[in-house]
Amino acid sequence: MPETILFYLFAAIAVVASTLVIGQRNPMYSIMLLIVSFGALSALYIQLDAPFVAMAQIIVYAGAIMVLFLFVVMLLNAAQEDAAEWDRRHPLRRTGISRFGALLAGLLVVQLVWALIRATDSATAVGASGDAATISSVRAVGRVLFTDYMFAFEATSILILVGMVGAVVLAARETSQ
């Protein structure tokens, strides 16, 4: 019973904080709320007996990526969004890029619903290879990452490397002129 209460508590925090992220006019508050949301998600991972994933979530997202976000917002000193010039039309009625964004959001909803329907069928697929204690251990995660998902893992690392090289090229061009 306490597990259920804790689940709903952290799930509620995650959902409310995520909703508030897009409701904020000040980007600084958006970032802080996003960190709260990540924290709540990490608590949910701990409830799922996956402490490694929970800690990785905090270290990578809340600890590193959000600090970079914060850094950029502070450097640009982004002003508060001005309510007067805020476009109040429905996203689908706007031109160009906003309409594309709305389309993507719709796709995401469809994908989520599909994934949820599918998850009820194949709930055993994830837990099939062992019980909670073995699945959550770092050893097991590492083994799966370097055997079954080797290609995805290496492809991701190359993708990140490409992004890094791109950033260095862009930054270096600016200073050489």
């Binding site: 270290i59 809340a62 600890g63 600090v67 970079l68 850094f71 450097l75």
Partner: protein, 357 residues
């Protein structure tokens, strides 16, 4: 009291004791810092409050409590209040995953000469430390990395250029040195084969040839050096104290703070120093293992001694080495420290693979 209740009370007492020690560590470090600084500059340091000035931290705290709390007119009200709270909460919370003593049942002790035995207090031993987590290394790393938000938000919400520069520097510095820090940690984790700090400590309890302790310090000298340097940078201490470089930024991120809100920042810094030293003790110096004392169930005294030595080195470095230049800090972090830690990781991995095969 029956055993489960007694056990619960003992656990609570251990948590309370840890908290009490941490609060006192920050007070004691303020005094130690000023006394050691005085010694290195050939003067006495604080001398008037109490014998040899040992009550100076209490006078400092009282003074800060009675100061007026100021907030700049254009400061962001919420984040300005939240920033010091985040700093100090992250500092305290990080220590929760650090074990500081062996398993103990509190007895049985035999009083020398008389021969009386004081029976064990508990049926089954408890672990000394707040929480025994099997990914403790990651927990400490994750929570200490949350502490940077306190400093960055303090810098941004003050709405002052010096504070903002201090906050920006802190964010850049933390991200740069976290890499080397985490890579140094990974080398030790590979040697011990566990992410649990308690298991890492217990892997170091034996001796080579019967007298050299099997500390990871001797297997990972480079890693230890990298850990200490990155730790100094992570806690924003001199020679890496750029977020509050007083010659350039007035007082950096805490320029606009006063009274208790100001006091929380140095307190968080001192507690972070203690956590860094405690984790270094667990990872490299064999934690609570040591000759003699361990036999009487006083292993945690060894732990305190080792943490104290590292903290002394922290203060020693601060009053010996001048501050780097900002570009030197980034060069050192990215071009020397990080490659060195990666090299250390690769060599360690190769050796572990060779000797385990």
């Amino acid at each position: 009291m029956d055993q489960p209740t007694l056990r619960f009370v003992v656990q609570l007492a251990i948590i309370g004791f840890t908290f009490f020690m941490l609060i006192n560590a920050s007070a004691a470090l303020v005094l130690a810092e000023r006394k050691i600084m005085g010694f290195m500059q050939q003067r006495y340091g604080p001398y008037l409050v109490g014998p040899h000035g040992i009550l100076q931290p209490f006078a400092d705290i009282l003074k800060l409590l009675f100061k007026e709390e100021l907030r700049p007119k254009d400061a962001d009200k919420w984040l300005f209040t939240l920033a010091p709270i985040i700093s100090v909460t992250a500092a305290f919370a990080a220590f929760a995953a650090v074990p500081w003593g062996a398993e103990t049942a509190f007895g049985p002790w035999t009083i020398p000469f008389i021969g009386w035995t004081i029976g064990p207090l508990l049926d089954t031993p408890v672990k000394l430390g707040v929480a025994d987590v099997n990914v403790a290394v990651l927990v400490v790393f994750a929570i200490t990395s949350m502490g940077v938000y306190g400093i960055v938000l303090a810098g941004w919400s003050s709405n002052s250029k010096y504070s903002l520069l201090g906050g920006l520097r802190s964010a850049a510095q933390m991200i740069s040195y976290e890499l080397a820090y985490a890579t140094a940690l990974a080398s030790v984790i590979m040697l011990a084969g566990s992410l649990s700090l308690r298991e890492v400590v217990d892997a170091q309890k034996d001796y080579w040839f019967g007298f050299i302790p099997r500390w990871y310090l001797f297997l990972q000298p480079v890693g230890f050096l990298i850990y200490i340097i990155a730790g100094v940078a992570e806690t924003n201490r001199a020679p890496f104290d750029f977020p509050e470089a007083e010659q350039e930024l007035v007082a950096g991120y805490n320029t606009e703070y006063s009274s208790v809100r100001f006091a929380l920042f140095p307190q968080a810094e001192y507690i972070n120093m203690t956590t860094m030293s405690a984790v270094a003790t667990d990872l490299y110096l064999g934690g609570w293992h040591g000759p003699l004392l361990e036999r009487w169930g006083l292993g945690w005294v060894w732990f305190l001694i080792k943490v104290g030595i590292i903290l002394f080195v922290y203060i020693w470095v601060r009053w010996t080495v001048p501050r780097y230049r900002y570009d030197q800090l980034m060069q050192f972090g990215w071009k020397w420290l990080f490659p060195a830690s990666v090299l250390n990781l690769i060599v360690t991995a190769a050796l572990v693979l060779y000797f385990n095969a």
